[in-house]
């Protein structure tokens, strides 16, 4: 067959059009190609089996997760990721009556919010000992939760001179100290008003060592050190090889103000401060320091040897010390590498005075002399946790992934995507001298689209990753209460909580154990009501006071049976407490209006729970 010239031209035109269509008509894929290629191959059956904790079975680990600006700590079980308990710390929590009874109300000190960031489990020889959990909050406060009863026992602060306590509560290897530091430098003492344009010279950062009593866990201010007005961000205590030192990151070494997203991100390197806390302790014991805001503050310019600055790129966020204490890993959130410093080199540089300058009299170590590696983990590295086998896991906010890399060879071996925008991460006992491996939880800032829609106020996400094998495997999505900043994971058998408060330990002066002792005593216009709660009566079942009286109800739950909690709420009053078995709590209030006010047990206790009620009768004065 012979084609005409015309039809040949037609055919060529069609072919040319097709070619143009193929070359230029390439459209965008329906999903990001990179994300697709990074989607983990997760064998659903294996993942389900690994994370499934059958009804009645117990989890292997406790996960203590910060509740951020909820002011609370959330307890989850791993691997099920089930929410087990909420520990109220800085915020009233009607469910347990926290912040309503006299003692916890006093402990909150008038503030009903706190921004919890970094839970820190107590340690012995660098390993979790299951005794206490310390948590910081931004208003210069630190709290101690006793893991014997999962209750907040002490809130220290606000500590003088500390402003925006973010870099906290990282404890030292034997829980000698916890730390606090200013993220928002201010002129000190508090109460001094200085224009923001004097920021670079007249605003001050401060780091505080909070001393912890080894027996009782009671916290008190140990020492304070004056620092330049950088934004002191995160910390970690040295251990083993680097025991005796605290590391503290800072961004905004530009000392800038205003639009910080621009002004504080101009330098390629900011700092990690290495603080010799043993020497600081000594200097404080010798009475050194200047009195500021009622406390002695050590000035490193006057007491040399306390603080050294390690340059670290760029706008560093997390600093994490390896299990053997030899490496200090600083993650610059605005770059694609995480920087590993060698502690031995740091010590040598300090000894040899290998400095490149100073900041307000604090020597700056020469970067090249102390750095071991810049590990190309990916974009936006924030925090690092460790496994038992020399692997490190770094969260990547911008890449929304976790990178696994090897200490020593600095080789990045695996990545797993996180949904989405991971902040902290938490490996099982992953910041101790002996990490467990096994599980890693990514604490993500965004969860969009991975759960049933719940309106614009969305939960955060915590994702469970199996790290037992060479390749990390995402195995579970959990949606956690806002806002999980950092979390710590401890083997369940290290924690030994009680189930009831033993009667013989109750030393409350108003405790009674027999309904016969229940009743009212009056002294002037002050009334004390000793009350007993036991299934299914609140005794007395009625009491009478006069308008204007100040009433203290002391409620003792005389039960010694697990889970037999009793509540006490008075209608039309802001009173709602819960008393655990064997516990006594008091609530004090002024009766303003005459009338009859029912009170009742709020915490469902028994078949006759509804009947557990009584009447407060307020007679008019006159």
């Amino acid at each position: 067959m012979k084609m005409s010239k015309k039809s040949l031209i037609q055919l060529a035109s069609v072919a040319a059009l097709l070619l143009v269509a193929v070359v230029f008509g390439h459209c965008a894929p329906s999903a990001p190609q990179r994300a697709k290629s990074m989607t983990p191959v997760s064998d659903v059956a294996i993942a389900a089996q690994k994370t499934y904790v059958a009804p009645g079975d117990l989890d292997e680990y406790y996960l203590f997760s910060s509740g951020g600006h909820s002011g609370q700590v959330y307890v989850y079980g791993v691997p099920s990721m089930r929410h087990l308990s909420t520990i109220p710390v800085f915020t009233p929590y009607p469910a347990t009556g926290y912040g309503f009874d006299d003692d916890s109300k006093k402990m909150l000190g008038g503030l009903t919010w706190g921004d919890v960031h970094h839970p820190s489990l107590s340690e012995t020889k660098g390993d979790y000992d299951g005794r206490w959990l310390f948590v910081n909050e931004m208003n210069g406060r630190l709290a101690r939760i006793d893991l014997r009863d999962f209750k907040t026992k002490q809130i220290l602060g606000p500590i003088p001179n500390i402003s925006g306590n973010h870099a906290s509560a990282f404890v030292t290897p034997n829980t000698e100290y916890s730390m606090m530091a200013s993220r928002f430098s201010i002129p000190i003492p508090k109460g001094t008003a200085v224009d923001v344009d004097k920021y670079a010279s007249l605003y001050k950062g401060v780091v505080a060592g909070i001393k912890i009593d080894p027996q009782s866990g009671t916290m008190s201010l140990g020492f304070e050190i004056l620092l330049p007005p950088f934004d002191w961000d995160l910390g970690d205590a040295g251990k083993l090889a680097s025991d005796g030192w605290m590391f503290l990151t800072a961004y905004n070494s530009e000392r800038a103000t205003g639009k910080l997203e621009v002004t504080s991100t101009q330098r390629d390197r900011d700092y990690i401060a290495a603080i010799n806390w043993r020497d600081a302790e000594k200097a404080a014991a010798e009475g050194k320091g200047d009195l500021i805001g009622g406390v002695k503050v050590l000035d490193p310019a006057k007491v040399p040897g306390l603080v050294y600055l390690m340059p670290c790129g760029k706008s560093p966020h997390g600093v994490d010390v390896s299990p053997d204490g030899k490496y200090v890993v600083g993650s610059g959130k605005l770059q694609g590498v995480t920087t590993v410093f060698n502690f031995e080199k740091i010590a040598t540089a300090i000894r040899n005075k290998d400095f490149t300058g100073d900041e307000d009299g604090i020597p700056v170590l020469k970067y090249e002399s102390i750095k071991d590696a810049e590990v190309p983990v990916g974009l936006g590295p924030l925090h690092t946790q460790f496994g038992p086998d020399g692997f490190a896991y770094t969260s990547l906010f911008v890449d929304s992934a976790i990178a696994k890399w090897k200490l020593g060879t600095w080789e990045v071996v695996d990545k797993v995507p996180m949904s989405y925008s991971i902040g902290h991460l938490c490996a099982a006992e992953g910041d101790t001298v002996s990490p467990d491996g096994k599980w890693l939880v990514g604490l993500n800032k965004l969860s969009h689209g991975r759960h049933l829609p719940v309106g614009p106020s969305q939960p955060e996400s915590s994702q469970l990753v199996d790290i037992t094998e060479e390749k990390m495997k995402l195995v579970y999505d959990a949606f956690t209460e806002p806002e999980p900043h950092y979390a710590q994971m401890i083997k369940a058998d290290k924690v030994h909580p009680i189930e009831v408060y033993p009667k013989e330990e109750n030393k409350h002066p108003l405790a009674i154990w027999d309904v016969k002792d229940a009743g009212l005593t009056r002294s002037g216009d002050k009334v004390t009501v000793k009350m007993v709660a036991v299934r299914s009566t609140l005794t007395p079942t009625a009491f009478e006071v006069k308008q204007g009286d100040t009433v203290t109800v002391a409620l003792t739950n005389i039960e010694q049976t697990t889970d037999e909690l009793h509540g006490f709420a008075i209608l039309d009053y802001n009173i709602n407490i819960v008393v655990d078995p064997g516990e006594t709590k008091t609530v004090t209030f002024k009766v303003q209006n005459a009338g009859v006010f029912p009170y009742y047990c709020t915490n469902f206790c028994s078949a006759l729970h509804q009947e557990m009620q009584g009447y407060l009768v307020v007679k008019p004065r006159g």
């Binding site: 036991v534 299934r535 299914s536 039960e559 010694q560 049976t561 078949a607 006759l608 009947e611």
Partner: protein, 212 residues
């Protein structure tokens, strides 16, 4: 039989022989655990109490699981149905029972040392009476707890008897009631006595034959 009985007065002084004396000694030893271990044990399970509540009755005291907490819990639950509180003071047995067991040990030893058939018969009778009285009194206690209920109780239940031996479902509770080590020890003591009497009686016949 009649002949045996008419001959009995004469044979009461007959020696028991070594084997029965040994058995009586063993019976005496068997009495000792009865002073230290529970006579009876009741265990109760309900959905809310998956680990069970335990009540142990000794010869001299009540004891219960979790350092006595279980007894408090049982009483607390029982108050809803108007049952009288199970209290040590209600058991007169606790006063005389250890004394009685001690007395029996002495009598057993006496029978083993003196070795007369008559002593053995006394012991079997006395021990049998003691055992039956003890069990009867325990059974009556159970009956009384379940029958003498406060009429003003929140939850009205018909009179009932908790199980004396074995299992019974009471409301949401599975109740198991079984003898404890002490009862088994007492049973062993009883068995030793009966065996001793059997052997000694047979031996009496053998010993009596040549004299006829």
């Amino acid at each position: 039989m009649w002949r045996s009985l008419t001959l009995l007065p004469g044979t009461l002084d007959a020696p028991q022989g070594l084997v029965p004396r040994g058995l009586v000694l063993a019976a005496a030893v068997c009495l000792l655990p009865a002073l230290f271990t529970p006579l009876w044990k009741m265990t109760m399970f309900a959905p809310q109490y998956p680990d069970g509540l335990e009540l142990s009755i000794y010869s001299h005291k009540l004891d219960s699981g979790r350092g006595g907490q279980d007894a408090k819990e049982i009483n607390l639950l029982n108050h809803y149905i108007g049952m009288r509180e199970i209290a040590t003071e209600d058991f007169d047995e606790f006063k005389w029972m250890p004394f009685m067991i001690g007395g029996l040990v002495i009598l057993f030893l006496r029978a083993a040392v003196l070795g007369r058939l008559g002593h053995l018969i006394d012991l079997v009778a006395l021990f049998g009476y003691f055992s039956l009285y003890g069990m009867g009194s325990f059974a009556y206690k159970l009956y009384a707890y379940g029958h003498h209920l406060d009429p003003s109780a929140a939850v009205k239940v018909g009179p009932f008897t908790p199980p004396f031996f074995g299992y019974k479902q009471l409301a949401n509770f599975e109740v198991y009631s079984y003898p404890g080590p002490a009862t088994y020890a007492l049973a062993a003591a009883g068995a030793c006595l009966v065996a001793a009497l059997f052997v000694a009686w047979r031996r009496r016949d053998v010993a009596a034959v040549p004299s006829q």
